[in-house]
Amino acid sequence: MKISWTWFHKLGSPKWFYAISGRLLPWLTLCAVALLLVGMTWGLAFAPQDYQQGNSFRIIYIHVPAAMLAQSCYVMLAVVGVVGLVWKMKIADVALQCAAPIGAWMTAVALLTGAIWGKPTWGSWWVWDARLTSMLILLFLYFGIIALGQAISNRDSAGKACAVLAIVGVVNIPIIKYSVEWWNTLHQGATFTLTEKPAMPAEMWLPLLLTALGFYCFFGAVLLLRMRLEVLKREARASWVRDEVLNCLGRETTR
């Protein structure tokens, strides 16, 4: 059986990426805005309150999606790191450098909203608990990748170093995931699992599903925005990029 790999090689071409991402971007933006708006309104105003935690549980609708995205983003860094190292794909390094700051922001949101949720629920902003500590390590891993990418001026060496750090650091992800099972912890277990139905009523978990999908769409849209600019900068000598820059400038001046 012969599988066509042309799509895979096309994926590595900055020009093709730029064209396809331009078409994808409006749809991702639309989905992100709609899902986040509906999910957050539903979660804040219409979902029933928790019988133990009262209304403070509504923080779940941003805390869990941010934490899920923070971890998925890191796994993505490791995957594009492998792709970049093995196939020397230019676009993989662009994706790695552009996704790392977004992942760091999401980790920060998860930690901050978690602290704010922890105060009324556990009576403390912060505990040195396995889940919280491993999330803090994730934040430092993101900082490490960002700093490494900026510290090395040679683009190829920086890409390789960041890819290696991303791949090594991915060991932290299962630690975060299973931390609530391996150690005694204040943190509650997973809300969503792929195999079981959630333990809460549908009007509580449906808005969470919406905001979680919304966060992923948001991530996609923001990542494409960053990557498109980075491609323009890195490929500045290519003729299609010059045309595109002139095209953008033309649009800006006529406006």
Binding site: L36, N55, I59, M106, V109, L112, I116, V222, L229, L249
Partner: protein, 58 residues
């Protein structure tokens, strides 16, 4: 609607400060993440425009 009135909604049953500050931080971070690449793109295009003008004058 799980609240009787709008002031109830704002109060969040004594947890208003926690819930609203968490949402505030989250929305602020989302806004920063949208604004940063858009501003960076504008800055880059302005730089390119300046560079092109310089090259034309030479």
């Amino acid at each position: 609607m799980s609240f009787a009135s709008f002031s109830d909604f704002l109060a969040m049953g004594h947890h208003g400060l926690y819930v609203w500050s968490a949402y505030g931080i989250c929305l602020a971070v989302l806004a920063i993440n949208v604004a940063a690449p858009l501003l960076a793109r504008r800055r880059y295009l302005q730089e390119e425009a300046r560079r092109l003008r310089r090259e034309k004058n030479q």
